[in-house]
Symmetry: C2
Subunit: 337 residues, 2 copies
Amino acid sequence: MSATPEKSSLIERVVAGETRAVARAISKVEDGSEDAAQLMKDIFPHTGRGLVVGITGAPGAGKSSLVDKLASLYRDRKERVGIVAIDPSSPFSGGAILGDRIRMQALGLDPGVFIRSMATRGNLGGLARATVDAVSILDAAGYSKLVVETVGVGQDEVEIVKAADVSVVVLVPGMGDDIQAIKAGIMEIGDIFVINKADREGVYSTEKELEALLSLSGREDGWQPPIVKTIATESKGIDDLAVAIESYRDFHFRTNLGTQRRRAIARWRILELLRDRLLARTLASDSASDTLDRLAEEVATRRSDPYSAVEEIIEGSRHKAAGEGGAQTTDHSTTLD
Amino acid sequence: MSATPEKSSLIERVVAGETRAVARAISKVEDGSEDAAQLMKDIFPHTGRGLVVGITGAPGAGKSSLVDKLASLYRDRKERVGIVAIDPSSPFSGGAILGDRIRMQALGLDPGVFIRSMATRGNLGGLARATVDAVSILDAAGYSKLVVETVGVGQDEVEIVKAADVSVVVLVPGMGDDIQAIKAGIMEIGDIFVINKADREGVYSTEKELEALLSLSGREDGWQPPIVKTIATESKGIDDLAVAIESYRDFHFRTNLGTQRRRAIARWRILELLRDRLLARTLASDSASDTLDRLAEEVATRRSDPYSAVEEIIEGSRHKAAGEGGAQTTDHSTTLD
């Protein structure tokens, strides 16, 4: 590989499982630093060994406790566990609001567990891309269970969980009148459903409702998503969840659906990255920031509209590309002559 | 304007407030159809009159009931109300899972209310862009209250609510151990906080917690976000919510913060649209779909990685642009001669 000595050393250290190198590599992809692309190209051949478990559900469902207890179970089995938690954040503040520090108190002293919170940084975010890249880095570093935890059922969050090998949706009993809506929205993404806080009132009716909805939906692949009841705070049902995860994994590989899913995930990863890259390229020039400020002012005061503004930006970057293109064309014809 | 007669007629009908024209215009921006850009350019000068109210919060918080009751209140005051509801959806299914039909039963027979559910359509989504465009169309059509309702606290959803004139965050009592996380995530986006289902146990402690968090955060603009208690299903507290919305609107205009916020929103709209447009342009050619399929297969089988795949796509489209650019350069030098 054509990496510089410094870079290949970071890769080597990641692959050797060095925690500090892993943290640094993740920061690079999160910041979208210039050498992140080469880093990920070098990382990629080392990935594909870990099992990626996506865990999602509404805020208040107790996902964090569940993830922590599941991680402890895997640790008892001597597996190394990487956890990537996606924090909700505002586009205006940037940065994770809950740091890794709170979680680290429980699990963080164990060198076999790596926890990282991810958050977007404003509009140029690329949260989904950064998250899947972080998971790939942990995979390359030899963590055999890779847990991605997301708050909420937002679009990005759903896509991130979809990119997992196994998707777990966490519900709680008696979520009220929106429960049909929630279930409809997440029905398709759940390979396994967890009813957490299963000591609460309403467990039975939530389970029956969920069963009814699952029997209606009928997956193409023939998988029957199991419903696992847990009380995460008391470590109850965590074994059952681990068994369900293994069952789906086995089913997945046995039926060769893995291939199809991996292709869909690959396609999604390419599109996410492409979107980020195209925007970054277009806004890369020194004058782009000034142009953007001016156009935002024009749109805000209704002297222009977003569509005309975007056409101006694309036109501007096209002319630059055309300039470069012109030079290339000339070189090319010289060669032909 | 240079629009064709057919197009200007659609615009005229939208501005005249014709429901069917509004529905058609929104479908156009949702589908990203080719004439959507010209449509939005024509729409834009007619916007800026309505008040955009963003309503968000966790699933199960009772947002839909709250929105319906607020809409009824505005209807009693003879205002026309446009509602855009964002449904959670999977990137693999596309399409709104809960249709407009359920909601329409309650409010839909009233011609003064327009309800539309929005959902992404796969990876090329542009949900945020489509949503703000739909709001602009309703604004141009003379709806004076524009309510955007989103499920979840996902990244896109947060951004959409941020693009509102007034942002309302809905909580329920006793949401459990994740409440700190939820509140931290949404603290910055709430201009007004609603504790719905205020007849439930735990109202007092939720209110105290929220007050404590709000006193810690301290907004730059000096606004003190009020906490409104409601029982939406019984129409209780809806008046108070309407008063709080008006107060923030007045504050907003009095302090001239409107200008600043509008500039931030304009900037965000431009970037969202730019992102969509760049991706659409790059994937527009006939061969792009085949290339994407091939690259997805290569990445899925680890013969390539996403970063190399994206470089190949960008390189391919650059060469095409360079070809066009070459021709332009030639024309240009001819003119100079």
